[in-house]
């Protein structure tokens, strides 16, 4: 498994992070060290073993679709600095 500066930059971009040159230089050996150690799980025989995405089986979580009180528009917008005409105002999409 080769982890390079370019891989880290690419992964960071996917995760919406911009790393400084210093951060990349610091992270590269650390992440190599971590991934090399974590790769040991390859040694476990998991043929025909299903993955567990929960520690206990998920119970039926479907509920009746009943209308209930929820946050008001004012409450939902009360914590943002960027709003206009009762809506969240976001950055440019296109």
């Amino acid at each position: 498994m080769e982890l390079t500066k370019d891989t880290i930059k690419h992964v960071a971009q996917v995760a919406r992070l911009e790393l400084t040159t210093e951060e990349i230089a610091k992270f590269l050996p650390q992440l190599k060290d971590i991934l090399e150690a974590f790769s040991d799980i390859a040694k476990v025989d998991t043929n025909n073993v299903p993955p567990s995405f929960q520690p206990v089986p998920l119970q039926d979580a479907v509920r009746d679709d009943e209308p209930k009180p929820c946050l008001t528009q004012d409450q939902a917008l009360s914590l943002t600095e960027h709003k206009q005409d009762g809506y969240f105002k976001g950055p440019k999409i296109i």
């Binding site: 995760a15 799980i41 073993v49 520690p55 206990v56 943002t80």
Partner: protein, 472 residues
């Protein structure tokens, strides 16, 4: 003032109107504020809210926790009280609702005194990975040492408080047990799904559990009886009714069988810590508990890798929502959405948060997903089976909670990130399998506390608490 009164006596006295909860909370808040300047265990103290709650309870002192000061880990939302999960990116976020656990505590008369310090989003074992420009909480026994993490503030205030108090922590991979061990208090992480996660700022959704930290097994049982139980607002909440935990700790322990985890006393464990835990096991044997050795080789060998791959993968998706738009820190709206989100996240996430997001994103990417994330989820299945087989033979598994006593900050600085992660070797197993576990203060080494961990099968909090009750 409550003096050296315990939680039970205090609540009884408030109920009988012999203690004025308003006067009591004012004194407690003053003490917390003063101590917090020295130990930094609180991110925010809920002055006004606490006093308002106390005024209500004074008029009507009812409830299982009437008038009791309770602190809440920063990642659990409290209505109107800044809740930032220890991260600068959530500065200024004042939730518009209470987490289910907070609501249940308030309904029983508990007074919320503030939010406790933690590693940002729970990313740490020593509470040193606090948010940018935030203070690291210090161990009240020795300020040069860590109070453990990530619920470090909860452990520290629980150890420090001379007034009756309970803290609510949260564990993903050991974040209740580790600070309980390092601070010398009791910490109970319940079965996954036993306590609602509604209102918890997720670290890793398939691993996160909310649980109490306190000075005795009674306090754990009492607070768990308040917060446990099904919640329709959390799809992973278990429907089984909660048990009578207070009745459980009154039961004799002599019928229980304990399994001593063989691998937990080997290489990498401070021999002095092992010695203390072995002494505690002798105490249990004298109480009539049967003991046998149990081997859990998969947990010991692959637990840390399996845990971190899953936890970081889930964290990297959970943290995608923090982008400077609806709450928390904002920046000037400039550039396109990619540039804006990237700017906010890069500026306000700390180093460990970035590190975990990058590993987690990598582990889920096309080409690597099967080898890391999916493989780890399969190994998790085998680890759960290994525990389930053990619980066919014994009721409770025993190990040290942490391989060492609380380290000094100077020594923590020397650790690489991987060495940091390896410190969780004892605690990741029960967390991966969603098993209830409790760190019990059982001894001291060099004046610092040692914790012993008791692990039970799913929904067997009763047995874990029974074992804890032998020690206080």
């Amino acid at each position: 003032m409550s003096g050296s009164m315990n939680v039970k006596q205090f609540i009884d006295e408030v109920g009988k109107k012999k203690i004025d909860p308003l006067i009591h909370i004012k004194t407690a808040l003053q003490e917390v504020k003063k101590a917090n300047k020295e130990f930094h265990f609180m991110n925010i103290i809920a002055d006004e809210q606490a006093i308002k709650q106390a005024e209500v309870i004074k008029k009507n002192p009812k409830g299982k926790l009437a008038g009791l000061p309770v602190s809440i880990k920063d990642c659990i939302v409290v209505k109107g009280l800044e809740s930032k999960a220890g991260s600068a990116i959530l500065e200024g976020y004042k939730p518009v609702y209470d987490a289910t656990v907070v609501q249940r505590l308030k309904d029983e008369g508990a007074i919320i005194i503030g939010k406790t310090a933690q590693d940002a989003f729970g990313f740490g074992t020593f509470s040193v990975n606090v948010g940018n420009n935030m203070e690291i909480p210090l161990n009240p026994i020795d300020k040069e040492r860590s109070c453990g993490g990530s619920s470090g503030g909860s452990g520290a205030i629980t150890k420090w408080a001379s007034f009756p108090h309970i803290s609510i922590g949260e564990s993903t991979g050991g974040s209740i047990a580790a600070p309980a061990a390092f601070c010398g208090v009791f910490g109970l992480c319940p079965t996954y799904g036993r306590v609602s996660r509604y209102g918890l700022m997720d670290y890793a959704s398939s691993l996160d559990k909310i649980g109490p930290m306190a000075s005795s097994s009674y306090d754990l049982a009492l607070s768990l009886s308040v917060i446990a139980g099904h919640d329709p607002n959390d799809a992973t909440s278990l429907k089984e009714p909660a048990d009578d935990y207070l009745a459980a700790i009154k039961k004799e322990v002599n019928g229980l069988k304990v399994g001593i985890i063989k691998e937990s006393f080997g290489e990498g464990i401070d021999p002095q810590v092992s010695k203390e835990v072995k002494k505690a096991i002798e105490v249990l044997k004298k109480k009539g508990l049967g003991a046998k050795e149990i081997s859990l080789p998969l947990v010991a060998k692959y637990g840390v890798s399996c845990y971190y791959l899953i936890a970081m993968s889930e964290a990297s998706t959970n943290l995608a929502k923090y982008c400077g738009m609806r709450y928390g820190r904002h920046e000037k709206l400039e550039g396109n959405f990619n540039e804006y989100f990237t700017k906010v996240r890069s500026k306000h996430f700390n180093q460990e948060t970035k590190r975990r997001i990058i590993i987690g994103t990598f582990a889920r990417m096309a080409g690597y997903r099967d080898a890391y994330y999916i493989k780890a989820a399969k190994v998790r299945t085998k680890i759960i089976s290994e525990y389930k087989a053990a619980f066919k033979e014994v009721d409770v598994l025993i190990s040290p909670t942490m391989p060492i006593i609380s380290p000094k900050f100077d020594d923590i600085k020397k650790l690489t990130p991987l060495q940091n992660y390896m410190m969780d070797i004892m605690t990741v197993g029960p967390n991966l399998a969603g098993l209830p576990h409790c760190s019990i203060p059982i001894g001291n080494v060099e004046g610092m506390p040692v914790g012993m961990m008791a692990i039970g099968d799913h929904l067997e909090e009763k047995k874990v608490l029974q074992v804890a009750s032998v020690f206080g």
